[in-house]
Amino acid sequence: MVFSNLNFLFYFFPITLVGYFLLGFSLPLQNIWLLITSLAFYAWGEPMYVFLMIGSIIINWFLGIFIGKYREKKVIKARFFLAGAVIIDVAILIVFKYLSFIIENINLLLGDAKIPDPKIVLPIGISFYTFQAMSYVIDVYRGDAESQKNPLYMGLYIAFFPQMIAGPIVRYNTIEESIRSRKITFDDISIGINRFAIGLCKKVIISNNLAVMNDLFYDLIKTGRSLYEVSAVMAWLAAIGYMLQIYYDFSGYSDMAIGLGRIFGFKFEENFNYPYISMSVGEFWRRWHMSLGTWFKEYVYIPLGGSRVENQDKMVKNTLIVWILTGIWHGASWTFILWGLYNFLFIILERAVGYEKWNLPKWVKHLYGLLVFMFGWILFRSENIYQMREIIKDMFMLNDNTFINDTTLWVIKEKYIIYLLAIVFSAPVFPAFQKKLNDNKDKLYSIFPKIGYICVLSACVIFSVISLIRGGYNPFIYFNF
């Protein structure tokens, strides 16, 4: 089940809301209700793998109790249980996500000695909830959070449906208090609903439409130039389009997750902050999928020493480890690892030359950033090195392809509105508009934009719902992770 489905929007969500608020007299009952509905949400798509998640919850809860118990007085025992929890969590991830990839590469090295591929289906959201589970046991060990005695509350933290499948990755210490006690005001509900609605529109109107085009363009590139000539403009549209698609897809889903959390009284941290206005790769990663970056910083980079190490070589090594892991986290493929290394290279280079302090015109820095991100996403999206090579060659007419053709012109004519909306709203246009609205003290003047906001958002939501009702393409990139 995903948020942008009819079964979620008009069945699961209203039923969960009604049940939650009817149980408003008891927070423990509300928490249990959320846990039950969250497990049902997950089981809807993965009836078998819900038990894997329940198993992960029980193991981490159980080991967390011991970590909390021994943390202060018997540190070695606490470390033992921590190591056990982390090893089990990582092992689950390796088996269900990376085993086939590992076996495939061993088989390539061995040649004829074939290890059979178990062909394990990737459970949805496993990367997200195992990272949350590890976050919990590490926070308990560090003393940043108390161990949770109630397994149902622990289950709620890991399985809570708004963020369980695709983040934001919520660190336990940030919502520990909310699980135990929270008050929901109409303000919270209002902020949550608006955020959810905006996320839904981003996902359905912009991302899904871009997805249709990008998947088509990449398929055409995969077909090969002997069968289909991809024009240079089409290749550039594929590259830019995917940049925009993944942003609206993921940030839209994060908006919906954050909005849903808020409705139920949980304040999740932001996951995106207009990353495409960044002027460096370093800045980009402070604005993109921030919860993942924070997780790696808190639980990998800083424990390794971070930047405060005696020599720069160690800092480079620490950064390399983080970026290899970031690449691997995204998927079991060499292109993801290469993508992680690609980002590492630019981050290290920027640090080495002090790029962020350079006094260059903003548009130059911005263009540099956009080009680096774009080529990084080409690497990320490509199924293999061949496809990456072909799209880049097509972009620069190195395949004896034309600059533009009738079909490309037609696609632009049909879809230019989507590209325009996507480009405009990838910048903080909306917050600037909101700020201006709030700063304006003239009530009469400000009423029209407010009515405009209500009408436009309502129209967008209606259009999104109609799009979902008619069926059609509704992929979600980060489901693959």
């Binding site: 008009f10 069945y11 609903i193 899904n208 249709v212 055409l220 079909t407 958002l457 059609g472």
Partner: protein, 418 residues
């Protein structure tokens, strides 16, 4: 005014109202589907997945005012002036007709030469039994002769494939009749030949094809069919339309609003003579006076209708039509697709027995045991260009491969395996 709070109230009200109406629509259908569910699966997880799938399907199909939403989406796209809809599923052409889009991005290993070789073997077996064999090519809605389309749109145009296939039929000397040429030579307009919201041809176009087929059989094989010209005389039929009544398969996907026009007029062909047929098909054994099924012309919901079933109930995997009025007439068999349905309804009076088999369910065994041994005087393979695919050419496939292998061994290209 806090615009976010106002929006929240509107959103919650609309959500619960629409949700309530949708649940009210959906639950009876879910219950009914579960009651009809057959074959309990042993695996509890597979059972769960199956049950979830039933619920999800019902939610998608029975969401409140589903078709109004589809129409609304189509109208919105129309207002924006777009020529494509549903993520490049369909595009408009200059006739405001819906055409599937095809970017031709998939390589395949279809060999029209091999298909032609299979028809050669089929023909040889038919002729060995004293019959005649002909391939019939139905017309494609996209054709330069009557529909050039808008620039740049990669319409799903299979004419090149059709031409390649017919080239190989020419090469191997297999008789064929190309209805694309027949329609091109007729005076009919695009709107008279095809439906806007469906890929099929109209009854009028099919009748023109029927006349040309009879003429062809009489010229080529001295068939002597319809000697007095009664059945090919249009005055013995009532050609009519049911105005503003029809929506084709593409229209049911996309809605009619996208075209900016009303529902289509559905063409009916009513014989002004009575015949008696004993018709065996998926519905069982039926005795009828006409093969035009008027009962499908009435429907509750236009979006659940399928008026093309007016012609011989659309398509069945097998049909057998006994013409009780003329038991001494020749026998014919058609390996076919849905385009043949109006043609069969027209031609059945000319044969004592008309058999038909849906191409994708026509196995090699069926052809050799039922068709070849059925002693048919005329055997036709009749396809629409998009059905020139492996799935529709299962017969004689292994024979052709074996023939090629034997030839290669004989020529020394391949060593025979001991």
């Amino acid at each position: 005014m806090n615009e976010k709070k106002v929006f929240t109230v509107i959103f919650i009200l609309a959500l619960f109202i629409y949700s309530g109406l949708s649940i009210y629509n959906t639950v009876p259908s879910i219950i009914w589907d579960f009651e009809q569910k057959e074959n309990e699966i042993d695996d509890v997880f597979e059972t769960a997945k199956s049950d979830i799938s039933i619920i999800d399907d019902n939610i998608s199909r029975n969401i409140y005012e589903r078709y109004q939403a589809i129409e609304g989406y189509g109208v919105f796209n129309r207002i924006l002036g777009k020529h494509e809809i549903n993520g490049f599923d369909y595009a408009l052409d200059p006739h405001n007709a819906y055409e599937p889009i095809n970017f031709w991005s998939e390589a395949n290993d279809i060999s029209f030469r091999t298909f032609a070789q299979q028809l050669v073997m089929f023909r040889d077996d038919v002729e060995a039994n004293g019959g005649h064999f002909t391939f019939l090519m139905f017309p494609h809605k996209m054709n330069d002769a009557w529909n050039k389309g808008f620039d740049g749109i990669p319409y799903n145009d299979f004419n090149e494939q059709a031409d390649k296939f017919l080239h190989w039929l020419d090469f191997y000397g297999v008789d064929y009749l190309d209805f694309r040429e027949v329609l091109d030579k007729s005076d009919m307009t695009f709107e008279e030949m095809f439906y806007r919201t469906d890929h099929h041809w109209t009854g009028t176009a099919a009748f023109t094809a029927f006349k040309s087929l009879v003429e062809y059989l009489n010229d080529e094989y001295k068939a002597g069919l319809d000697a007095d010209g009664f059945y090919t005389d249009e005055s013995n039929y009532e050609f009519g339309t049911i105005p503003n009544s029809f929506i084709g398969s593409a229209g049911r996907d996309v809605g009619v609003g996208y075209s900016g026009m009303d529902l289509e007029d559905f063409v009916t062909v009513k014989p002004l003579f009575n015949n008696k047929y004993e018709w065996t098909c998926s519905m069982g054994d039926i005795t009828r006076q006409s093969l035009y099924c008027e009962e499908v012309l009435e429907y509750e919901s236009i979006y659940d209708s399928d008026m093309y079933r007016y012609y011989l109930q659309g398509i069945n995997s097998r049909d057998k039509i006994i013409n009780c009025n003329d038991p001494d007439a020749p026998k014919a068999f058609f390996v076919r697709d849905s385009f043949a349905s109006p043609l069969l309804a027209n031609i059945a009076p000319l044969f004592s027995e008309t058999g038909a088999s849906w191409g994708k369910f026509t196995s090699d065994r069926y052809v050799k045991e039922e068709i070849i041994n059925g002693d048919y005087d005329y055997v036709f393979v009749s396809y629409y260009p998009e059905n020139l695919i492996t799935e529709f050419f299962k017969f004689y496939a292994e024979d052709v491969e074996q023939y090629k292998l034997d030839y290669a061994i004989k020529q020394g290209y391949v060593r025979e395996e001991k």
